[in-house]
């Protein structure tokens, strides 16, 4: 990762040859199947990039939210993201 000002704009190529999305355990129980393997991870869903908390057994979604800026999901962030728009864009 590069300087903060370039976050979301400039990345270097990953060093690991094969990549995996980390699924972070959240210590919850699935309300549908009662299993305890519930994890949070980024997905691409019908409404675009989302962060979900899902049961890994039955795929029930417990939480479905917009990613925060810091989560860089999707990876690209325009440098002008926080600027006020105008009629000309």
């Amino acid at each position: 990762m590069s300087d903060d000002i370039l976050r979301g704009i400039y990345y270097t190529r990953p060093t690991a040859r094969y990549l995996t999305v980390d699924r972070v355990p959240v210590g919850a129980t699935c309300p549908e199947c009662r299993r305890s393997d519930v994890r949070e991870y980024p997905v691409f869903a019908a409404r675009g990039p989302r962060i979900v908390t899902k049961c890994q057994a039955c795929l029930a979604t417990l939480v479905d939210r917009e990613p925060t800026d810091g989560e860089l999901h999707p990876p690209f962030r325009p440098m002008t993201r926080s600027w006020k728009g105008t009629r000309a864009g």
Binding site: R13, P14, L19, F76, R87
Partner: protein, 657 residues
């Protein structure tokens, strides 16, 4: 509209009483269906308008474009209606339009505005695909959006046509990159934006016409939407829109539920990236089906490559979703509702979710195609009756650019020749011959149009014998497509499925992979798609010791290069891949084998050794007794051997003699 959330908990549509339906969607079922279909028809009108009024052959003739109607903010900009067009454009727009409107900011849009963009990292395709979006205001609010996307043949950059195989590594080298930008205001063109666009392409005379055509298509959609609202009222139209989305979602959920729960995996490979050519690039997929939910995870996929064939997240998601819908729920209308039950997991920095500023113009084809391939492959285990063997999985893109002086005037030209390939076989039929992949779904620029528009002469285009993946149902055959350049130009070539052949399923064989040759003699004999190898110079592909394309060959030359000067008179032959076979070839109906031999798609020798079919000397009938005996011998000999395709090509010497 009653609810903007996913309708998972909502009562199934077919279980609703009429009263419940009207309370939910503000109209009866018939009206809802009429409005849903009217929106699809509106998109068809947009598509036809764009095709009829565009200037460049790639939009006008090839139809490398698509249109759609999208909801407003309260519908989260969901895709409401799409129609025929390039599938990759259609599905990517479902992600892209939302991202662009949010960034531009709804508050800054007025009636008569159109914004444009082509940035892949904002949920787009590649730089060459330009999106236009127009807000449709009703009662002072942007209730809908009309949008379309078209491939512009050139967007600047270091190489004509922008494919840049094997050379560029960053998006900065690929051409003009635009975030959401005002293109029209008060229905007047924004001169500065047009200048920015037209000053940076080699083909401003085409792009100015295409941009106007895209604008016109947006207007057509807007007028038809206004007509619908005038007839039914906004409340009912939006109720019908919600119905359309729920219909798409519930259909997909029911289709997933009908599949067997399980974890299904598949691995496939991309040849190389044109820069680091030593290793194949792994695309890994796991499909998890649970009840009416699904998740497609590409963890385990190779990191993004140096060359330009990694894909952005939106393109990869599109490729995977198109494949998933085609296998799981192929007949229901497509809209954003159909995507709701499926989550996609794409590791950041991988071949399928590349990071800025990496280049990926050609990643708009190969990586999503392979993402689709692995979804097809994974789901083949879950639903073998719906599976289909691997197809060409992309196209051979030959791009040549230079000056056309045939008319006496000098005119710049850039032509992207999409040589299609063939599809794989299914459980019930042979693979389609010579057809662009599912993700592409474009027409082909006819030979006649190509020869009029560009200084290129087509010398041959024909099916090649013994190139289809063998099987109970065989794949489509490979194609030999030879063209002579009539002007010196700069050539780039982009092609995959050269190192690894299109695979078969359930004992079906693999097909001939792709290749590119220079033909050394304009009078080189051509027989059933093949020429003597000493009259060909292999340029790209995997070749055996005779110089024939062969997935088992020892020599591999990358199919991704650019910036290559070629002289007028050069003859290039593209060999487009065949499709994989489905099922054991020894179970193929001998009558079909006979027909293939008579149609010069299968040689007598291959009919004998591959299919175990013995034909009469006059090739008019099957010798059934001899066939039965031969098949018995071949089956006993094979037993545990999986049929892998045509390994012995010695017979080619006879064919090409």
């Amino acid at each position: 509209v009653a609810s903007l959330e996913s309708t998972v908990a909502r009562q199934p549509l077919h279980d609703m009483s009429d009263a419940e339906f009207e309370a939910t969607y503000f109209c009866d079922r018939v009206t809802a269906e009429i409005i849903r279909n009217a929106m699809v028809m509106a998109v068809r009108h947009m598509t036809n308008a764009l095709q009829r009024s565009s200037f460049s052959p790639i939009v006008r003739d090839q139809r490398d474009m698509a249109c759609g109607i999208f909801g407003g903010e309260d519908l989260a900009y969901d895709a409401i209606a799409v129609a025929e067009g390039c599938m990759l454009h259609i599905c990517t727009a479902m992600y892209n339009v939302r991202e662009l409107i949010r960034e531009y900011d709804l508050e800054n849009l007025r009636p008569g505005d159109v914004i444009c963009a082509n940035d892949p990292f904002r949920g787009g395709n590649h730089i060459l695909d330009v999106t236009l979006i127009r807000p449709v205001f009703v009662e002072g609010r942007p209730e809908f959006f009309t949008s379309n996307r078209a491939h512009h043949t050139d967007m600047g950059g270091s190489n004509p046509g922008g494919w840049n195989g094997g050379s560029v590594t960053t998006i900065y080298q690929e051409g003009l990159r635009l975030g959401p930008t005002l293109l029209y205001t008060d229905d007047e063109p924004v001169r500065s934006t047009f200048n920015l666009f037209l000053d940076n392409t080699r083909l401003p005379h085409n792009s100015v016409g295409d941009l106007r055509a895209q604008y016109g298509a947006c207007i057509v959609g807007e007028r038809l939407l206004h007509g619908l609202v005038a007839k039914y009222g906004l409340r009912i139209v939006k109720g019908a829109v919600q119905y359309a989305l729920d219909h798409g979602e519930q259909s997909m959920r029911a289709a997933i539920a009908a599949m067997p729960d399980g974890d299904y995996e598949f691995t496939d490979y991309i040849d190389d990236d044109g820069i680091e050519t030593e290793n194949e690039l792994r695309i890994q997929c796991g499909v998890r089906l649970r009840g009416e939910r699904a998740e497609i995870d590409f963890s385990g996929t190779e990191r993004q490559c140096e060359g330009n064939i990694s894909s952005v997240w939106s393109v990869s998601a599109s490729g995977a979703m198109i494949a998933f819908k085609m296998i799981v729920d192929p007949f229901a209308p497509l809209n954003s509702g159909a995507l709701r039950p499926v989550d996609l997991v794409l590791p950041a920095g991988s071949m399928l979710n590349c990071l800025p500023p990496t280049s990926h113009a050609a990643g708009n084809v190969t990586s999503p195609e392979r993402a689709a391939s692995v979804v097809y492959g994974a789901l083949a285990s879950a639903a073998p009756e719906r599976a289909f063997a691997e197809n060409v999985s992309g196209s051979s893109n030959v791009v040549w650019g230079g000056e056309d002086t045939r008319s006496g005037n000098v005119k710049p030209f850039v032509h992207m020749l999409n040589a299609f390939g063939s599809w794989g076989a299914t459980a019930t039929s042979d693979g389609l011959p010579y057809c662009l992949s599912v993700l592409g779904n474009c027409s082909e620029i006819s030979v006649e149009i190509m020869e009029v528009e560009y200084p290129i002469l087509c010398l041959d285009k024909e099916f090649m014998i013994d190139t289809a993946g063998a099987g109970t149902f065989r794949g489509g055959p490979a194609i030999s497509y030879t063209n002579q350049l009539l002007a010196s130009c700069e050539l780039s070539f982009f092609c995959d499925r050269m190192r690894t052949a299109p695979w078969g399923l359930f004992g079906g064989g693999e097909a001939l992979p792709q290749a590119l040759y220079e033909v050394l003699d304009v009078d080189a004999p051509l027989k059933q798609g093949w020429s003597p190898s000493d009259m060909l110079r292999p340029i790209s592909g995997r070749f055996d010791r005779r110089g024939h394309a062969n997935a088992n060959g020892k020599v591999f030359k990358t199919g991704k290069f650019s910036h290559r000067r070629v002289q007028a008179g050069t003859i290039l032959r593209i060999v487009s891949a065949g499709g994989g076979g489905y099922g054991d070839p020894l179970e193929r109906d001998p009558a079909r084998v006979l027909a293939d031999v008579r149609n010069q798609l299968v040689s007598r020798q291959a009919a004998h050794t591959g299919y175990g079919v013995v034909l009469s000397d006059d090739v008019r009938r099957v010798d059934e007794d001899a066939t039965h005996a031969l098949r018995g011998r071949l089956a006993r000999r094979r037993r545990e051997i999986t049929w892998k395709g045509w390994r012995d090509r010695a017979w080619l010497d006879e064919v090409t003699r």
